[in-house]
């Protein structure tokens, strides 16, 4: 081992050790690297769900007889509803207005009689459309119960229900249709962004603020060593965050991992590098923690949340915004994560996304290489 190589390794080791000690001793590092990820994990694992359950349904049965009771019973038995009976529509509608109900199913007093008549019976359905997503899900469930009851009713009459088209649907990859299955894996991208971009940029800005960067720069330390000294500890921290999230996802939240773990590890490593590169870029622009933090939140964290496909479907966004999403590295990683966890190693999905991340990494690294120098101003 040459003297120069040995010195270089020693400098790097010193930097990495220093960084570790600082992470463990600085409360704001701990807040970003440990507290916030945990809070997010539990919020998304337990708290946040796009699925409707326990829908508060008002069942207005104006005249109770065997048929109306039968239909109402179908709603009561459904696991999606928490029904309340009403005798008149006015009181139910009032409760809907006052947000004590999410929806109403209204069986008029002539319901049973009209069932027999040519025109058929009209079942009134009211939902609170304010939350359009929830309203649509509620309607879907009501339709399901209604259709099931129609079939049963037809059989009771001794005939088949005649529906010209019979739909048989299957939801692949997520048969239970649980939103947790796609939210929790997506969180890995958010947590790695927090550590790689927000924490890293703030930590570097802090060194500028406190004058330690100046002291460091005046030593024989070389630029690649400075960069590696920052990259290695935060890379390790980010990967640790990833492993922790995966462990919780698999064993606490029962999310399946259908792809291979090695692929997940590789993709995560690549994304972590991209996130770190963004953090380094931010810290080149911003030399105080305050500005670095703000830029990191606006440029990396918010887009990773909203523009990555983590919650909102990218395909349904307006075209200009879809174009912008291509600049968000988390977009590619979220696509890989959702596929890896729920579908498996589907290379036609994974490879192009890996390629896009690699390209971004190269561009970021080239800019960093050009812009990073051992000069103060």
């Amino acid at each position: 081992m040459s003297k120069a190589g040995q010195d270089s390794r020693r400098r790097l080791r010193g930097m990495v050790r220093k960084e570790w000690l600082q992470i463990l001793r600085d409360p704001s590092s701990i807040a970003i690297a440990f507290v916030l990820p945990l809070v997010l994990l539990f919020l998304f694992g337990y708290g946040v769900s796009l699925d409707a359950k326990d829908i508060r349904l008002g069942l207005v049965v104006e005249h109770m007889d065997s048929r109306s009771r039968d239909l109402a019973g179908a709603f009561v038995r459904s696991r999606f509803f928490r029904p309340h009976y009403y005798h008149d529509i006015q009181s139910a509608e009032r409760d809907l207005t006052e947000r004590r109900l999410d929806g109403i199913v209204w069986l008029r007093h002539d319901f049973s009689r009209r069932l027999q008549q040519p025109g058929g019976a009209a079942i009134g359905v009211r939902v609170n459309g304010t939350d359009a997503n929830q309203a649509r899900i509620t309607i879907g469930y009501i339709q399901g119960v209604w259709f099931g009851w129609l079939e049963k009713y037809a059989r009771a009459q001794g005939r088949e229900l005649k529906t010209p088209v019979r739909l048989d649907h299957r939801v692949w990859f997520n048969a239970a249709v649980s939103s947790r299955y796609f939210l929790v894996p997506g969180l890995i991208a958010i947590i790695m962004t927090l550590i790689g971009s927000l924490l890293t940029s703030m930590v570097i800005a802090r060194e500028w603020e406190r004058g330690t960067m100046e002291a460091m720069m005046a030593t024989p330390l070389r630029i690649p060593e400075v960069l590696a000294g920052k990259l290695i500890p935060y890379f390790a921290l980010g990967m640790f965050g990833m492993l922790f999230t995966v462990a919780l996802a698999l064993w606490l939240f029962d999310v399946p991992l259908r792809g291979s773990f090695v692929t997940l590890l590789g993709a995560s490593a690549l994304f972590m590098l991209v996130a770190l590169a963004m953090g380094l870029l931010i810290s080149i622009v911003a030399k105080n923690q305050f500005v670095a933090g703000q830029i990191a939140i606006i440029v990396t964290f918010l887009p990773a949340f909203i523009l990555s496909g983590f919650i909102f479907d990218i395909g349904s966004m307006p075209a200009p915004i879809q174009v912008i999403t291509h600049l968000v590295p988390a977009r590619y990683f979220v696509a890989i994560l959702q596929t890896l966890f729920l579908a498996g190693d589907i290379w036609p999905v994974i490879l192009p996304n890996l390629g896009a991340m690699a390209l971004m990494l190269l561009i970021f690294m080239a800019i960093i290489r050009r812009r990073a120098h051992k000069r103060i101003a």
Binding site: S28, G47, G124, N128, D131, F173, V177, F182, F312, I321
Partner: protein, 371 residues
């Protein structure tokens, strides 16, 4: 009189300090505009142009008719028609299609002969929410198609049909739900950042000590620190409400009085929380981090994007501490449901309570924070 003049001087100083600093000006204008645009357009659960792949082994006309209806809907977009059912699997796997339809070879014949034609739908569940919504859209098309078909064949109509009415948001547009929510989100972000930084900035610069040794009463200082947040919040709120109505065309059905009462109380609670964060922070960086640590859970637990009712009991309970939770009900209630102040009373008082507790606590902390 004199006391009020002193408060006025404080408020003036606060505004000058805020508006003469390019950095703070940016905080006031940049993030709100970005978020309004991004949330207004990107944050939607409505689906457009869902990519659909089809395998049609049926030779008849009815499958064509049904497909035409699917394609005619703005929600769906036919991307591939394949010969083998196997190919559908690949299209779904590779995310080139979110919905795959496969018609039975005897689809048309079965229907014409009075039996049911079989149609299979496969949905990509990687985003299960989108999958469910797409399924909903497809079902609606089918129900419509079935009724028309039954009628044409002269068969018996369905004994009972659903007469659907979505209140407040007849077309169930997500944007109507999200955009009013942005009013709350942005107000929280802006007021929290403005107030969280205000004391911390002075502490960092050392001017807070200067303030403390002046004959200003604690309540004057507190008032002087709160009013700018309130005024800026009210201005931004009015601006966003205007944009929501004029640009995003969300209907404003309720009374403006009820809305502004809500805005005021919400701002009061946000200012209180912001000042509390500021009072315990020594540097602006800590204040920013504190605001961020409060904001993220506050937004997630508010019901902004996902319903509170779906959360576990404990989490729902925690969400009662979140002022945004109440404000979102108010703003959506006034915008879409035409709610008045009486209907929203149970949303008003918790915010007033949060503000009423947080502000004095902030005042106390600001004076007693140790170094």
């Amino acid at each position: 009189m004199n006391a009020l003049l002193q408060v006025l001087a404080l408020v003036r100083k606060e505004f000058l300090a805020l508006l003469r600093d390019p950095r703070s000006r940016l905080v006031l204008i940049g993030p709100p505009m970005i978020q309004l645009m991004v949330f207004g357009y990107a944050a939607t659960f409505d689906l457009n142009d869902v990519p659909v792949a089809v395998h049609n082994a049926d030779r008849g006309a009815l499958s064509r008719q049904l497909l035409a209806r699917v394609e005619g809907s703005p929600a769906f977009h036919l991307v591939a028609e394949v010969d083998a059912e196997e190919a559908l699997r690949e299209l779904i796997n590779e995310r080139r299609a979110m919905l795959a339809l496969s018609f039975d070879p005897n689809f048309s014949r079965d229907i014409e002969q009075g039996r049911s034609g079989r149609l299979q739908a496969i949905l990509d569940g990687r985003n299960s929410n989108s999958a469910l919504i797409a399924l909903g859209y497809l079902r609606n098309i089918l129900i419509d198609f079935n009724q028309g078909q039954s009628l044409r064949q002269g068969g018996p109509p369905l004994p009972a049909v659903l007469k659907l009415r979505a209140w407040h948001n007849e077309n169930m547009t997500s944007r109507w739900f999200i955009v009013p929510g942005i009013v709350g989100l942005l107000l929280l972000v802006v007021t929290l950042v403005v107030t969280a930084l205000s004391i911390a900035r002075e502490r960092e610069a050392g001017t807070f000590d200067q303030l403390l040794v002046t004959p200003l009463h604690p309540w004057q200082t507190l008032l002087g620190k709160s009013i700018p947040g309130l005024v800026i919040g009210l201005l931004e709120a009015s601006f966003i409400v205007l944009l929501a109505v004029a640009w995003f065309e969300v209907p404003l059905r309720g009374s403006l009085g009820a809305l502004y009462l809500g805005i005021f109380l919400f701002l009061l609670s946000a200012v209180g929380v912001g000042l509390m964060i500021s009072a315990i922070s020594v540097t602006q960086q800590q204040a920013l981090l504190g605001a961020f640590l409060f904001l993220v859970p506050a937004v997630i637990l508010s019901g902004f994007a996902t319903p509170i009712a779906n959360m576990p009991e404990v989490v729902q309970w925690i969400s009662h501490l979140d002022p945004l939770r109440y404000f979102l009900v108010i703003v959506r209630g006034v915008f879409l449901e035409g709610a008045d102040a009486g209907l929203l009373i149970h949303q008003y008082w918790p915010m007033a309570l949060i503000g009423g507790i947080a502000l004095p606590v902030a005042g106390w902390l600001a004076r007693h924070r140790m170094y």
